[in-house]
């Protein structure tokens, strides 16, 4: 048995922001496993623990003494290492010299790239202790935080001041030098003993802690309300308390007059407490999480209750101030509210939104909603200048809807205002009402176009992938999801173009080029939303055809995925592929209309008759969006007859006019399917069995 020891690193800090701990633990685990592997000590799976004050990484069974390892170093390829007389070349001599060996020590090794010269070098590895001692300061400094700070003259940066570090290798305390941070003094203990001792004072395992809080809340809610937990808040509170306890508190029923969103936002923001609802409505109770049994007492509960009421009183003040006048009275204030530098004011934005909404209503056959939606667009941003949204920015839209209702606007208008920021993220719900959906689409198109037009949104995303500083990706996804959900028949090309046009001189771009850029960007998002379709090329085939009508794209995809194993689907694909291949050879020539007078051989006539006989029926089926039947019809009409045709007739004949006429026929047949359904030639290996 090799001599091994357990290892533990503990970084004790002043209270870290709740959101910082989990990512930091991940960073720690990764740096250790990478570092240990890179230095040849081996593969290990570090385990981490964390609280607001502690970042701990624990690794079981690190070898004390390193094994002498043999390392292979690859040099030049054999063909350049020796000349034709088999003497070592400059390259071989240089390589050997650099590695401190004789050319005679070089060996030949076969690799996938050919034969290479290699040497085997014995290396005395470094001890784990040395390595840890050296690497730990860099590992600590390498933990990434959204924001870091300095606190003493060492200039060391961390999320919050580090109080101490402790690194145990077996019972031995390693000497870690980082900034002015002192080393924690502990009695000699093994890492596992240290952890055990620590676990007695607080719950260092955050997953267990989170579960404990959740269980306790659910238990407390039992009998008084419904089980529903704000997961974001739960995640945050998990890193605010070490030994969670919960209690139920109450507040005066009169505060239930406040909109539910306000109550929830106030509880979460000001006190990090959980609301309780019953039959879908909030009741005058809350659940608080505190740290340790000693703090779960009546005095603390009463304080929480009184503070909540004081805060809610302030919200009532905001509500009263905000509702003194009808919402629409504040509309001119939007002239002073900047939408974004270079993109004008919010007032200009709502003017654009009104027009875009009206355009969408016309295009989607929802003209009857026009009056309501235009009104909603007009009111959509006014809540940004209210007290309540100033206090709780997350309530934008929600307050707008609430205030619209209280100002006597009709329900459609209020709902549309409330819903128009949806969806806020990939998991967020969509607008339920049609009016809300149309306003939401308009708002998002205006955002995507505006921010991309400034030349920042789109490019940044393309470069970084993960960043979405202007919400361009989120907006693009939102647009697609809403259109799909509501099955609006909209051509996105037109919509985006309209969005660009409405910005006027604010965006100085080549409209068509810019539109295509955005369209491509949105198409990539559709591709993603289409999900895991096999073969992948089926998505491309669908996206290549038809207009940019999102609902239709999903409809075609669904239809084709459903029949992709059918023989007639494969036959149709074969028809598209063969006609497509023939046409590829004739790209530069101008293919005109088919002239029946030029037919020379029997099969030509047969193919053309098949076209003339089936064309109307297939087009009709496509128009009715019966893509399954259209595909079946298409295969039935052309597969056999084309097979015969290609066997007997040479399309690419020397006779120019004859050749063009035959190509014209192929083009007509190909287009009949690919223009509107899918370019199935993109599929890999189409085999009709």
């Amino acid at each position: 048995m090799k001599d091994t020891r357990d290892f533990l690193l503990e970084i004790a800090t002043e209270d870290m922001p709740a959101g910082y701990v989990r990512p930091a633990l991940k960073d720690l685990e990764q740096s250790f496993s990478k570092g240990l592997e890179a230095s040849g000590i081996g593969k290990f799976s570090p385990v981490s623990f964390g609280t607001k004050n502690l970042l701990i990484c624990y690794i079981k069974g690190l070898p004390v003494a390193p094994e002498a390892s043999s390392k292979e170093i690859v040099g030049p390829p054999k063909r350049i290492a020796f000349d034709k007389d088999n003497n070592p070349t400059k390259q071989a001599i240089g390589f050997a010299k650099n590695q401190g060996v004789e050319t005679g020590d070089l060996k030949v090794k076969k690799t996938s790239k050919g034969e290479y010269m290699v040497i085997q070098k014995k290396e005395q590895g470094r001890t784990a202790k040395e390595l840890l001692q050296e690497k730990i300061p860099d590992i600590i400094k390498g933990i990434r935080f959204p924001k870091t700070m300095r606190w003493d003259d060492s200039g060391l940066k961390f999320a919050r001041p580090i109080e101490s570090v402790l690194a145990l290798f077996g019972k031995e305390r390693l000497n870690i030098k980082i900034g002015n941070v002192p080393q924690k003094k502990v009695a000699p203990l093994f890492p596992s003993q240290y952890l055990k001792k620590l676990k007695k004072t607080c719950m260092i395992d955050w997953k267990k802690r989170k579960k404990k809080i959740k269980d306790k809340i659910l238990k407390a809610v039992k009998g008084i309300g419904e089980k529903a937990i704000d997961e974001n808040l739960l995640g945050e509170v998990t890193f605010m308390v070490d030994s969670p306890e919960v209690f139920v508190g109450e507040f005066d029923k009169k505060f239930l007059d406040l909109p539910g969103g306000v109550l929830k936002a106030s509880m979460a923001k000001h006190q990090r407490i959980f609301p309780v609802s019953k039959n879908g409505r909030l009741i005058n109770k809350f659940i608080a999480v505190v740290d340790g049994k000693k703090r779960k007492n009546n005095k603390v509960r009463k304080n929480y209750e009184k503070i909540l009421e004081a805060k809610l009183k302030d919200s009532l003040f905001f509500l009263n101030e905000d509702t003194k006048n009808p919402l629409s009275d504040n509309i001119l204030q939007l002239k002073d509210l900047i939408f974004h530098k270079g993109l004008g004011s919010m007032f200009e934005k709502i003017e654009r939104l009104k027009k875009l909404c009206s355009f969408i209503c016309d295009k989607s056959g929802e003209s009857s909603l026009k009056t309501d939606i235009e009104r909603a667009a007009e009111l959509s941003k006014i809540d940004l200048v209210t007290h309540m949204v100033g206090e709780f920015p997350s309530l934008q839209g929600v307050m707008g809807g609430e205030y619209a209702l209280r100002s006597g606007e009709n329900k459609n208008v209020a709902t549309a205002v409330r819903e128009h920021y949806l969806p806020q993220g990939a998991d967020d719900g969509l607008p339920q009402s049609k009016a809300g959906a149309i306003l939401a689409i308009s708002d998002k198109i205006d955002n995507v176009v505006g921010f991309s037009g400034m030349g920042v949104g789109m490019e940044k995303i393309k470069i970084s992938g993960s960043l979405d500083p202007f919400g361009t990706r989120r907006n693009a996804f939102g647009i697609i999801r809403i259109i799909k959900d509501k099955s609006f028949r909209l051509n996105l090309d037109e919509l985006i173009e309209k969005g660009i046009e409405l910005y006027g001189v604010k965006i100085k771009v080549d409209t068509v080029k810019f539109r295509n850029q955005i369209v491509d960007y949105v198409k990539d998002r559709i591709d993603f939303l289409m999900g895991d379709v096999r073969p992948l090329e089926l998505k491309k085939a669908v996206l290549k055809s038809g207009s940019f009508d999102v609902a239709d794209i999903f409809k075609r995809q669904e239809a084709l995925v459903g029949i992709k194993e059918e023989r007639y689907f494969l036959e149709a694909a074969k028809v598209v592929e063969r006609t497509g291949n023939i046409l590829k050879g004739a790209k530069k020539e101008k293919i005109g209309e088919v002239e029946e007078g030029l037919f020379k051989e029997g099969p030509e006539r047969l193919v053309w008759d098949a076209y003339l006989n089936s064309k109307n029926k297939i087009q009709d089926l496509i128009k009715k969006e019966k893509y399954d039947e259209a595909t079946r019809e298409y295969a039935g009409a052309f597969y056999e007859v084309l097979h015969d045709f290609f066997g007997k007739v040479l399309v690419n004949t020397e006779d120019g006019p004859l050749r063009l006429n035959r190509l014209a026929m192929m083009k007509a047949i190909n287009a009949l399917y690919t223009e509107r359904v899918a370019d199935l030639a993109l599929l890999p290996q189409i085999v009709v069995k």
Partner: protein
């Protein structure tokens, strides 16, 4: 333990922090929004010389007025400000000890240090730290300064700002600020209700807009003149006056959303110049 009055809380804090080596400074006699604006913090946090100070600072936030109708919000209230440079390693413990000195049982109440990135855009100052919550009420702002007057600091100060009224609420178990005992037999309300109501009305309804607009311009001009004459303290006092004039205009609804950042930027520019002058960098 006997419940401390408002004045006794101040006494206790003075006693506690002077034992920590702080100079007990007196309040600034100019209207300010927070203790940070006092030169004992703004100027003294800039250089590399060690400095420890503690003081009460009456603070004015015109938009926070509630006509004495809200138990927690007022447009005029008192901060207790501590500034220590360099920040001691155990400053968090010292702070908790100060709460104990006030008779607060920190183990029997939910004391939380909640992330807060503090920023004063008018002073070009920012720092990282926490709001300290006692049973979910913010009682203290705890900040490690990183930048003041637009300058990255060489030596980090720790700023601790107690909300005196809120701490008293806990100590006296009264959740309306106006019910607090200022001294025995004198309520906080006796001292402040009329003041609070009248100033709320003044800030929101009556303050002369034209006059404050003109004052802002004049104060700014005066600050610039004084900066040119290398008079850092007087120049800075006009920066504070300009800042307060802006706050009144803001409460009066006389500053539009788009003008706001510009006003704040103008004050910040002046504050930066004062900081540079103080440090002799001009």
């Amino acid at each position: 333990m006997k419940k401390l009055t408002f004045v006794q809380v101040i006494d206790k804090l003075n006693e506690f922090w002077s034992r920590q080596g702080c100079v007990i400074v007196q309040p600034l006699d100019t209207e300010v929004g927070a203790g940070t604006f006092h030169p004992a913090t703004f100027f003294r946090s800039l250089d590399k010389d060690p400095w420890k100070a503690a003081y009460v600072q009456p603070s004015r936030r015109p938009t926070d007025g509630r006509y004495a109708d809200n138990p927690l919000r007022m447009q005029y209230y008192y901060q207790y400000q501590v500034l220590i440079k360099p920040s001691p390693r155990d400053i968090k413990k010292i702070y908790l000890d100060s709460l104990k000195a006030l008779g607060i049982d920190v183990k029997g109440h939910e004391v939380r240090f909640v992330e807060d990135d503090w920023e004063s855009p008018t002073l070009g100052a920012s720092g990282l730290g926490w709001e300290v919550w006692l049973d979910s009420l913010e009682i203290t702002q705890f900040t490690y300064f990183q930048q003041v007057g637009g300058k990255e600091l060489d030596l980090i100060s720790c700023e601790i700002t107690y909300g005196l009224e809120r701490i008293c609420m806990f100590i006296q178990n009264k959740f309306n600020v106006f019910d607090l005992d200022w001294q025995h037999g004198v309520k906080y309300g006796d001292m402040h209700i009329r003041h609070e109501t009248e100033y709320s009305k003044y800030n929101f309804e009556e303050a002369g807009i034209d006059m404050h607009l003109k004052m802002f311009e004049s104060f700014e001009k005066e600050a610039l003149v004084l900066l040119d004459k290398d008079l850092a303290y007087p120049a800075y006092s006009f920066v504070l006056k300009a800042s307060h004039a802006f706050n009144i205009l803001d409460a009066r609804g006389a500053v539009s959303q788009s003008e706001r950042p510009r006003y704040i930027g103008r004050v910040r520019t002046l504050a930066k110049k004062c900081a540079e002058l103080y440090l002799g960098n001009r």
